[in-house]
């Protein structure tokens, strides 16, 4: 484990060196650490956010000083308490990490899937085979980021891995299901993007009026179910 400054008001706790070899194990360790640090209620901590192999911790240096840290030791003071919290706490058991299984209906019709043929061509498959394969797998949310609520999903069949487009699109519609490298994901809000779009979900992945605002969180399991255009329109109403 390594703790490094992220500017003067945040730090990064690095739990694992790599992610790809054992992503499930790494993700569990990261989320368990996040939970431990939340429960530790360290002085001056404002918020925690996990991402793949790390947990970021945002803090108010003034409050850390008010709790007794010397001005020139704010980082070390906090880092020591983080290490202590992680090492002294009972291991958070895996079953304590919340994981929901979420079904994402998606319409893979050509109109919603400008890059489906490109993905199929790259994989040496037919378009329908790509859809079947995409729907047959179970994915895990590795990280939320890029735009509000955007899930980076691991577990894409290696055959479907497709490099990002060399020129990103200026605008990708909300709900677009896409493949970028070895990951798949869903664009929750209209945004620019370089991933290959293969379908669209009628679900709203991000709603700022709700708390939590995102449909998915890191650790959730996801699978896609192919729906017709008619079902898509019905679900949108």
């Amino acid at each position: 484990m390594e703790i490094a400054p992220l500017g003067d008001s945040a730090l990064i706790v690095r739990i694992r060196e790599s992610f790809d070899d054992a992503s499930d194990e790494a993700l569990n360790a990261v989320l368990a650490t996040q939970r431990l640090l939340e429960n530790a209620k360290l002085p001056g901590v404002i918020e925690l956010a996990p991402a793949y192999t790390t947990v970021a911790l945002f803090f108010d240096p003034m409050r850390v000083v008010a709790f007794g840290a010397k001005a020139d030791e704010v980082f070390d003071w906090l880092a020591e308490r983080i290490r202590k919290a992680i090492s002294s706490a009972n291991e958070v058991r895996r079953d304590q990490i919340e994981t929901s299984l979420v079904e994402i209906p998606a319409c893979y019709d050509a109109e919603f899937a400008p890059d489906l043929d490109e993905v199929a061509h790259h994989a040496g498959l037919g378009a329908q085979e790509v859809v079947d394969l995409h729907c047959a797998s179970e994915y895990r949310v590795h990280c939320i980021g890029f735009t509000p609520g955007f899930p980076f999903l691991g577990g894409l069949p290696s055959k479907l891995a497709t490099p990002r487009r060399s020129t990103p699109r200026k605008e990708i519609p909300a709900g677009s299901v896409a493949i970028g490298g070895a990951q798949t994901g869903i664009y929750p809000v209209k945004s620019p993007g370089g991933w290959n779009v293969i379908g669209r979900t009628p679900l709203r992945l991000f709603d700022p009026q709700k708390d939590p605002p995102a449909l998915l969180r890191a650790s959730d399991r996801v699978h896609f179910r192919a729906i017709t255009r008619g079902e898509f329109e019905k679900a949108r109403r």
Binding site: E47, F146, P208
Partner: protein
Amino acid sequence: MNVIAVRAGFSTTVQDFGRIGFRQFGVSLGGALDAHALSVANLLVGNEESAAGLEVTFGGLQLRFADKRLVAWSGGEFDARSGSTSLPAGHPVLIREGEELVIERPKTGCRAWIAISGGLEVPLVLGSRSTDLRGNFGGKEGRVLQDGDKVALGQNSEQAKILIERLREEKIARWKPPHDWSSPAKREPTLRVIRGSEWNRFDNVTVQRFTGDKFTVSPDSDRMGVRFEGPRLKANELVDLISEAVAPSTIQIPPSGKPILLLGDCQTIGGYPKIAHVITVDLSIAAQLRAGDEVRFREVTLADAHQLLINREQKLEQFRRGLQPHFS
């Protein structure tokens, strides 16, 4: 009561201190790019320091008020007036029913924060009134102000009412906060930085260039980040990073070798090497950078960064206490 944006300006948004607690869902911190400036402006009009105000970019704003309000602004070198009266930064001013506040294009810097007594009362979204332009929520309907927009105002605080009464004759208060606070824009800005996680992965020549050369602010800059032209830094292509948290203040070096300084609306995660981070007290200067500005970066220690912040907060505390007689 409300305030009307007769002319909305180039890019004016409602901002407070931003959204806390939602980074894990990919929601940016957002908020005033110079939170200190907004705090000070709010203090000057008898508001809570975290009250929502307006962030004005490149001016062009004309506000009309429906009732008596105290207004204060701080930021770049703007020409602000109410009728024929010139309104310098950092002085609370009394604006009466039907009167206007006009902020024209800045000579230096690019942003200003306007606090209005009572604060802007747009709905709270995820705990904040700030406008999130990427997610299109918060603030005034999730967007920049448009000509003719009305924004609701809260009630004048008891403190504000006292100062309103006192300013009946002279209109503008004579006292003001330290100059650096109300006018942070610099003609030849230097941003103090601390080392980022990947500092050591850049070769010596690159690090020397980063702290020795001048960089020019690119027009392709916004609330998400400031892009720099100038000496290209040798991107370290061997580094294949797993995405991790970034924050406003992070300076990353993408494969183009042109540094990007992230600001309040930046993404929550990123995969580019982080060479450095601007220290919190210099974010006030960073928030004023505009296309063509020539910027230098100077390394300080993390302990220096914290000491400078402590010094500023101690001065702010003195300022808060010094204000009390004006509001009681």
